[in-house]
Amino acid sequence: MSLPNGPIRQLLYRVLTRFWAWRENAKPLPGGALPSRAPSDNVMRTMNLVMPLKNRTAVGRAEAVMAIAACLDEIYTGLDNVGTVHVARFTIVDDNILMFSFYDGDFRTYIRDFIMTLGHAFDGIVELVENPPPLPCWRHVDEFIEWVHERDALQLPSDPGELAKLVGPEMTNLEDLPRFLAVQLGENRNVQLGAYRAYPGFSVAQIRRAMEAGW
């Protein structure tokens, strides 16, 4: 489009995205890793949790930092013993607290083991977040897992062919790919754009075992 990249163009894009979402009856694709029969797809799966902070000031961000610092042992011990987490990190970006991780196996089992071993720490973190789930999480396990799942970002395949298949299964004109993508990104604000793995296909325990770090 030849409009200058100003507020009018931004507004137009918003309107058009909504129009096409309505016109094509777009449904948000589910976030998180999808089920797969292939063993490699069941290890080193990714989670990208985006949680907007209630207190959108520097003081609110400081609270989040302190909340996590206060339960360091809980988090590290829990993750060590859950046994299926490769890497996990908390990051604050623009008043959102992000939790990104690589894990093995079923998503719900991962979160449930998490709640069991570090549920209290999780309570302390999510109570700082907008629209928190019912707490304590360990008494509302099902609701908590679904709350996390709803915030787990959509995973777009990095491969363009796969990308087209996912966002535009009924597309008949390749030129429409950007529109299908925009409509889906209108429904899913946060997305993962592929994920690199230096050692795809191995579980945490396989790596720990091979490295003689004990599993």
Partner: protein
Amino acid sequence: MSVEITAEEMLDAFKEDAPPGHVRDTRWAHTHGIGVLGHFVASTVAKKWSAAAFMQGGTVPVICRFSNGSSDPKRHDNWPDTRGLAVKFHPPGGEPHDMLAMTISVFGARSRQEFLDISKAFVPKPIPKKSWFQLNVVDPLHLRLPPPSFPPGVTESGAPGLAAFAGTHPYARAFVLEGGASIVPVSWARIEYHAVHTFMALGPDGVKRPVRFVWQPVDGVFPVPPVELPELGPDFLGEEMRRRLARESARFTLRMTLGEPGDELADPSVNWPKSRRSVNMGMLTIEKMAEPEGVDVSTMSFNPMRLPPGVEPSDDVILHARGEIYSLGCQERGGTGCPVLHGPGARK
């Protein structure tokens, strides 16, 4: 440091930190606790990193003591505190050896003098009351959090003095911050215990590696939710352990972190980064209470310097001093197995 500060002086300074009413023949720190029995089984990789007998695999019986850090003669399981886990390993055919760990990962001093200084700062004093203006105007304007609340009825504490001390003594900060974040765990089996000091682990390859140990509860760390705290009695942790062990065993994994060049080896006030390599060295399984088995841990000596062949102390001054202080304290209270400093770490 012209004249070496003695263990007696350090123990005396520490005694000043205890609330009044110390009961003769009890410990001056970690006064209240319980004994439990179980076993340790090293992981299959442990022997690749350590030549010590208890790391070679097989079942090593253990006697353990869970404790509250407080020296208060009154027991307060239901108050936030630094908890302890002392493990006495009995490797078949070898001398027993100990591993002492606590829920804070660092120590608040690096030298004998600093030990005296921080002990002095921790002497209980009437809790200063902040003015309304300070609390509601000055502190919020400084973006300070409200001061920690004390359990009902507590009028004297060493904590405010310690906090003030840590403000001006950076080496005490990590210790005080972690101590301030202390919790009441739902169980002594649901909290992590750090052996704090650096030890030198002799590997089968003949290499001595600086290492630190931590006991991680398999079920994770879990504090009592604040709403449930008022329902808990001052000795609920003992009762909880009895019930737990009647039902199932309690498990901890022993994780050993490997130090690297640049890491503090002799300074227990500084933690190592979480990015260090660490090895799962084995599983501690606690199966039963010690008392019904005729094992009395109240008189038993646990000493951080009672080490097995293959694990040596680092040059950490506090580790060596604690070895002496524990030994001295044990003698004073008529404990069993007290003077033990004949290992590789014995001071001349």
